[in-house]
């Protein structure tokens, strides 16, 4: 299956669901900063790959799929679970990309322009993640 952009999905998401993600994202970023300040950068760094909004996002996928199936008069429990499982598998693949992101920053941040390093590492994260996703699809 090809990758597609489906903008209609945004209409399914309600404003308070965006607000929950904003709140959770803000809280974990602030928490990572506090932990780093209190216990040192080494401990604070652990929270940079915390699955901050994963439970909220997975619950939204589950809820939207059930609503969709119910509108069609079907029971969406099984399909919703499958979608959450596949989404989590994607996150596992993305975490390998995130590892490479951290590695690139670790190796280059001391000697190069900060914004160039962070921007480049983000591109590397996306590239590696897509490559792993594509390789997994071909298997």
């Amino acid at each position: 299956m090809l990758v597609k952009v489906d903008a209609s999905r945004l209409n399914e998401t309600r404003w308070h669901e965006f607000a929950v993600r904003f709140l959770l994202g803000g809280l974990i970023t602030a928490f990572a900063g506090i932990m780093g300040h209190k216990y040192g950068a080494s401990v604070g760094g652990l929270f940079l790959a915390f699955p901050a909004i994963f439970p909220a996002s997975a619950t939204l996928i589950d809820k939207h799929e059930k609503e969709k199936k119910e509108r069609a008069g079907l029971n969406g429990h099984g399909r919703a679970r499958q979608l959450v499982s596949v989404d989590a598998a994607g996150t596992a693949m993305g975490s390998i990309g995130l590892f490479v992101f951290a590695l690139v920053i670790h190796e280059t941040i001391r000697d190069h322009n900060t914004w160039l390093v962070i921007g480049g590492a983000t591109v590397v994260w996306l590239g590696v993640s897509i490559l792993i996703w594509y390789a997994r699809k071909r298997m």
Binding site: V5, L10, A30, G36, L46, T59, F99
Partner: protein
């Protein structure tokens, strides 16, 4: 306090933007890649470099590599359980969070402490 508020705002914006991107894509396995987006890291590392210097950011990324392993374990556990057990999403995603804590802090105490 001011720095915490700045972190909160930048983190919130960064995380919601990547989550929004994840919502846009099909299939779900591809959209799931955005569940491991460097959203918290982007906000934190940029601020760390400005406030505490490059060495601080480099130290944080060393630990981050370990927590990426933990994230992989957590997401794999959730994926397998949701596919094979008829449990509720909210319970599974929260009940496996200790896997992330154990793996990341376990690796940290073995390799970096």
């Amino acid at each position: 306090m001011k720095l915490i508020l700045i972190r909160f705002m930048i983190g919130g914006i960064s995380v919601s933007t990547f989550a929004l991107l994840g919502d846009l894509f099909k299939p779900k396995s591809f959209a799931g890649l955005f569940g491991a987006a460097p959203s918290v890291a982007l906000a934190t590392l940029a601020l760390s470099v400005m406030a505490e210097g490059r060495d601080n950011a480099a130290t944080q990324t060393t630990s981050m590599m370990l927590s990426c392993v933990a994230l992989f374990c957590y997401a794999s556990c959730v994926s397998w359980t949701m596919m094979h057990r008829p449990l509720r999403t909210i319970w599974v995603t929260f009940l496996f969070l200790p896997v992330w804590v154990i793996v990341s802090f376990g690796l940290w105490s073995i390799l970096l402490k």
